[in-house]
């Protein structure tokens, strides 16, 4: 068992990072552990950079994670993963969906989206434990686009069993209710990737 485990989730508003954070938090509570989560939000419903922080353990003080000290970074989008990379140290595990979401500047042609290779290189330089997962594509195969994040979580749990997978599945049922079926299927796919 891990005495404390900290995760940064980086993505774009509307990608479901907050739901993912809620699932992990619920699973931690179901496992009898303490949790704290925090988030850094933009000023709108969706479309801006969003970072969530989670800490799980016996006693958790603050919701924030120190730079270079995250145990894991779940990257829902490559530019946002790099934006959160100051939390990554040599021991950090990164699971990343490499499919980009353009910014408004990219959309209107004022700026190019950075080269994906360059973004991946920045992340690779920080840690050897870097896993690129085609989560959205896998989820689309399941016809469950909303469940891509659960694939990433499944992969992370297969690397670091910081919570028992049955508790995560129970948490998915609690947080997502009737939509839990596909999310659990996606989580299991991630566990076996």
């Amino acid at each position: 068992m891990y005495s404390e485990y900290s995760i940064v989730i980086a993505g774009v508003g509307g990608q479901g990072g907050l739901t993912l954070s809620r699932v992990i938090a619920t699973a931690a509570t179901l496992s009898g552990l303490s949790i704290k989560t925090g988030e850094t939000l933009g000023m709108a419903q969706r479309g801006g950079s969003v970072q969530s922080y989670l800490k799980i353990g016996k006693i958790i003080r603050s919701p924030l994670i120190k730079k270079g000290c995250a145990d894991a970074l779940i990257g829902l989008e490559p530019l946002e993963a790099v934006r959160a990379s100051s939390y990554v140290g040599p021991h950090t595990k990164i699971v990343l969906d490499p499919n980009p979401i353009p910014t408004i500047f990219n959309l209107v042609g004022k700026e190019d989206y950075p080269s994906i290779e360059e973004l991946l290189r920045i992340l690779k330089e920080k840690t050897n434990q870097f896993y690129i997962i085609q989560a959205r594509r896998e989820a689309e195969k399941l016809n469950a686009r909303q469940s891509a994040n659960m694939i990433l979580l499944g992969k992370l749990i297969s690397l670091d069993a910081f919570l028992p997978s049955e508790k995560i599945e129970e948490a998915i049922r609690i947080v997502l209710g009737e939509k839990a079926g596909k999310a659990i299927a996606a989580f299991r796919i991630g566990m076996n990737l």
């Binding site: 774009v12 508003g13 954070s21 809620r22 938090a25 619920t26 509570t29 303490s34 949790i35 704290k36 989560t37 925090g38 988030e39 850094t40 939000l41 933009g42 000023m43 709108a44 419903q45 969706r46 479309g47 801006g48 950079s49 958790i60 003080r61 603050s62 919701p63 924030l64 994670i65 120190k66 730079k67 270079g68 530019l79 946002e80 790099v82 934006r83 990379s85 100051s86 980009p100 353009p102 910014t103 408004i104 500047f105 990219n106 959309l107 209107v108 042609g109 004022k110 700026e111 989206y113 950075p114 920045i122 686009r145």
Partner: protein, 614 residues
């Protein structure tokens, strides 16, 4: 007898649970990040039937919400009013008199500050209001304390018969944590209201002077009550002092524990911010060799400590945000570690492209801005030549490409009144003010009355998306049914504006952006106040209600000219794989892109029907 339950709650949810555990009877507020989820949670609990009795509704603005809660507390029931920092500025008029009237039952004022800032126009530190309004301020450090302080806040309020301010910051409001909660208590008292002119009437100046004295005496009791409630505490026996409050306390504790320094330090954790608890601080200052003050946003406690040390003749060195920490922005555990052990943390040195939130796919504001742009041009002006005074809400995102529309965004309702100011100054060109429906009802309506009365030449565009969108779709005066189940009387925006005396008024659908542009062209040079109501429900609500069609691009006709992207900036359009395409799962079928495509390459199809080129 109370059944305790361990729940995973966001700080704001914990505050809602705390208020219900304390027997809350009336809650009101105006949405504002990071405070909105308190009332949202109370409404959901009402809707789910988990509570009944309490009155829980959003109000038209913070001052009205404040006065509703003050009135309720005068009648002997417990009330809760919630707002973000600048909301307390709106409510500051009744706030500053509220100590003079006092309360009969507990009144808790939740004000959520936003260090960073992440979602607020200023990095306002609302703790200054304690001294200003002569009201106690308490500050919890995490969701668990937020729950407990809410309950204690009511007890404190009732002991001294004054409203109590609970100040939080984003790291408390939006932190999710495990919280042990007790059962809700149904409000059991019957409201009663008796005449008490000296307390409730401010028209007699000798009473006001007398009440001033009584309020100060009531405040003098707060320090010992705080001791009784254990709001302040000292941890550790070391000689190095740290004084802290709020979320910053959790960073301090974590950094000291992880670096195994707890035995060298002595922490004074303040839960009572105003009046500053002199006794515990003075004793603390005598026991330590130096003091670091860790607090969000201004050096408030730091300045209080320095004044107190001076009064007590203590030479101890006190340093905080004025000397050690960044003076702006949110504190982090890294900041504290770098001060305490000198560990320097590495910031990202890669310059990354920004990702401001765009207007959503199908956002009606896109159509309004497209129409405004075209109308201004058809009236003979360049885009960027005519000032567009903005206001607070999603439409402020029109500052970003492709529109780069608004010139100002100041405070609720200021679009119209600042535009009046430009014209009053003799500004020669036409001026446009854009404002959302909820912001209009909140404060814009008084600005519009001023503009109408002074017969100012001004075009006002009210972007009516039928909700408070930015903070998560809360009710406006145009809602007929509250989430709580309460029936409400719907106001008709057009009738309201017409009733104020506006003669040139048009209601248009922003999805027909040419209609918007035609009215802009027609109105912009006409004298007096003209109002265009650009009306269409928020696209997120439309999507939830179910959309019937989506757009698609016929690759045979598309020349990849990107006019659709450059003119709408719609995030459902994707240029990433070399060719523009529509992300079908994002599209709401607004057809704005279709309307601007020069090659008629964008088509619409009903959901569930195959792509057929007709």
């Amino acid at each position: 007898m109370h059944h305790r339950q361990n729940l995973v709650l966001m700080g704001n949810e914990a505050i809602a649970y705390g208020a219900l555990t304390a027997g809350l009877a009336v809650a009101s507020g105006y949405p504002g990040t990071p405070s909105s989820e308190v009332i949202d949670t109370l409404l959901e609990l009402t809707a789910s039937g988990k509570i009944n009795r309490p009155y829980i509704e959003w109000a038209v603005n913070e001052r009205v919400a404040f006065e509703i809660c003050l009135g309720a507390s005068l009648s002997g029931v417990r009330s809760l009013v919630t707002m973000k920092g600048p909301g307390l500025n709106v409510a500051s008029d009744p706030l500053l008199s509220s100590a003079y009237s006092g309360v009969e039952a507990g009144m808790l004022i939740l004000v959520a500050d936003d260090p960073g800032p992440y979602t607020t126009q200023t990095e306002q530190d609302s703790r200054w209001y304690g001294e200003f309004a002569k009201l106690p301020i308490i500050e919890p450090s995490d969701p668990k304390e937020a729950y407990e302080y809410t309950i204690l806040g009511y007890e404190l309020s009732e002991k001294i018969k004054l409203p109590v301010i609970m100040r939080t910051t984003t790291r408390v409001n939006h932190t999710v944590s495990d919280v042990k909660v007790k059962e809700f208590v149904e409000p059991s008292y019957t409201p009663s209201f008796s005449k008490n002119p000296k307390r409730y009437l401010r028209a007699v100046m000798t009473w006001n002077r007398e009440r001033h004295g009584e309020v100060l005496e009531a405040l003098d009791k707060v320090e010992s009550l705080a001791e009784e409630f254990r709001l302040n505490r000292v941890e550790g026996l070391g000689k190095l002092g740290v004084v802290c409050s709020g979320a910053a306390y959790t960073y301090v504790l974590e950094v000291l524990e992880k670096n195994k320094l707890l035995d060298k330090y002595r922490i004074l954790k303040l839960g009572l911010i105003h009046p500053i608890p002199k006794k515990i601080i003075t004793e603390f200052l005598k026991e330590v060799n130096s003091v670091i003050v860790v607090e969000e946003i201004d050096p408030y406690i730091e300045m209080k400590l320095k004044a107190l040390a001076y009064d007590e003749g203590l030479q101890v060195k006190i340093m905080g945000r004025q000397e050690l920490f960044p003076r702006v922005g949110e504190l982090t555990p890294d900041d504290i570690e770098s001060v305490i052990i000198g560990r320097q943390f590495k910031l990202n040195n890669v310059a990354l492209p920004m990702r401001p939130p765009p207007l959503c796919p199908g956002c009606p504001h896109i159509g309004t801005y497209m129409g405004l742009k075209m109308g201004i041009s058809r009236a003979g002006h360049r885009w960027g030549e005519i000032p567009i005074m903005g206001d607070i809400g999603c439409y402020a995102l029109g500052l970003n490409p492709p529109f780069e529309a608004i010139w100002t965004e100041h405070s609720m309702g200021a679009s119209i009144s600042m535009a009046v100011g430009l014209k009053a100054a003799g500004y020669p060109k036409p001026v446009v003010a854009v404002i959302g429906d909820s912001t209009f009802y909140h404060s814009g309506i008084t600005s519009l009355i001023e503009a109408i009365h002074k017969d100012v030449d001004l075009l006002v565009v009210i972007m009516d998306n039928l909700t408070v969108a930015m903070t998560g779709h809360q009710a406006t005066p145009e809602y007929e049914l509250s989430i709580s189940g309460r029936r409400m009387k719907r106001l008709d925006l057009e009738k309201v504006v017409r009733g104020l005396g506006v003669e040139r008024i048009a209601v248009v659908d922003p999805y027909n952006y040419r209609d918007v542009s035609e009215k802009v062209r027609e109105f912009i040079h006409q004298p007096g106040v003209k109002v265009i109501i650009s009306k269409r429900a928020c696209a997120i609500l439309e999507r939830r209600a179910g959309i019937g069609q989506v757009c698609w691009i016929d690759p045979e006709k598309c020349t990849n000219c990107l006019a659709c992207l450059k003119l709408t900036g719609c995030p459902a359009l994707s240029p990433l794989e070399g060719r523009v395409s529509i992300i079908e799962s994002e599209c709401v079928g607004c057809t704005l892109c279709m309307q601007v495509c020069p090659y008629n390459a964008i088509l619409v199809r009903k959901i569930g029907v195959a792509k057929i080129n007709v």
